[in-house]
Symmetry: C2
Subunit: 155 residues, 2 copies
């Protein structure tokens, strides 16, 4: 991954950080992935200040990461559900968590994520080539669209 000065600005990372770059964002997301749906649940689970939580949830809704709906049986209650866009953050969150496990807290973390089908732990998240080789930063570089051999995939 050599030095590429050409339009780094157009990278989509800043756009992603617009939604996810604020404090608490990932922790609220994790709680949502763990099945929490209600304001008070998030608040008690995370210990976050109520105004900030309200703020973040509203932001998530604005950005299409969560959907807000009131429950018919009890109209005081509001449910927050992850949208497909929100659910699509799962790999990012798992990657960040795994990194923390490996480099911050040290190996064994509880609970661990397992495949529901066979109960075995998930793989470590990695950058893979089109044919499945694990890539490090030295094995890849930036390219402009014209340089790429036809079949497009993720970039």
């Amino acid at each position: 991954m050599g030095k590429v000065r050409e339009n780094l600005a157009e990278c989509s990372l800043p756009a992603a950080l617009e939604s996810m770059g604020e404090r608490w964002a990932f922790l609220i997301l994790r709680a949502a992935f763990n099945g929490l749906h209600h304001f008070e649940e998030f608040q008690q689970e995370l210990g976050i200040a109520r105004n900030i939580l309200a703020n973040r949830l509203a932001r998530f809704v604005e950005h299409g990461i969560m959907e807000r709906a009131s429950v018919p049986e009890d109209r005081r209650k509001i449910v927050y559900n992850l949208t497909p866009k929100g659910s699509a953050l799962l790999p990012t969150m798992v990657a960040l968590r795994q990194w923390g496990e490996r480099w911050e807290t040290g190996e064994p973390a509880f609970p661990i994520l397992v495949d529901v089908r066979d109960g075995r732990p998930i793989q470590e998240i990695a950058v893979l080539s089109h044919d499945g080789r694990k890539l490090t930063k030295h094995d890849m570089h930036w390219a402009l669209p014209g340089d790429v051999p036809a079949e497009a995939d993720a970039g």
Copy 2:
């Protein structure tokens, strides 16, 4: 991924966010992956305030994400290099970038990451089962160490 209230607190995500949860962290990291090494390079590339940049770089060094060294040929110059721990954030960063591409900016992002070996774009980052199936949040759940069938991997 059902509701698991049992010790979410021990999840390593908060630890990871301790290093990476601050504003600019991922953008500085991206710049580093792109071969930037010097204070002024980061500053000009990102337009970040100098005091904040100094702060973040110092934090990265504290947390072992970057190494700080002065250049022998010109002892005014300082290089910041990613450590293995810092480089290990690549999958997380790529995952976040890909999410931004897909859901924020819309498909075509420039430049794109390609495999240096064949010039083809990298795969989309995903959560995979031990045998390589792509998993969604419905295909996995939390387990405690005792529940796991022997061969340990990442969790």
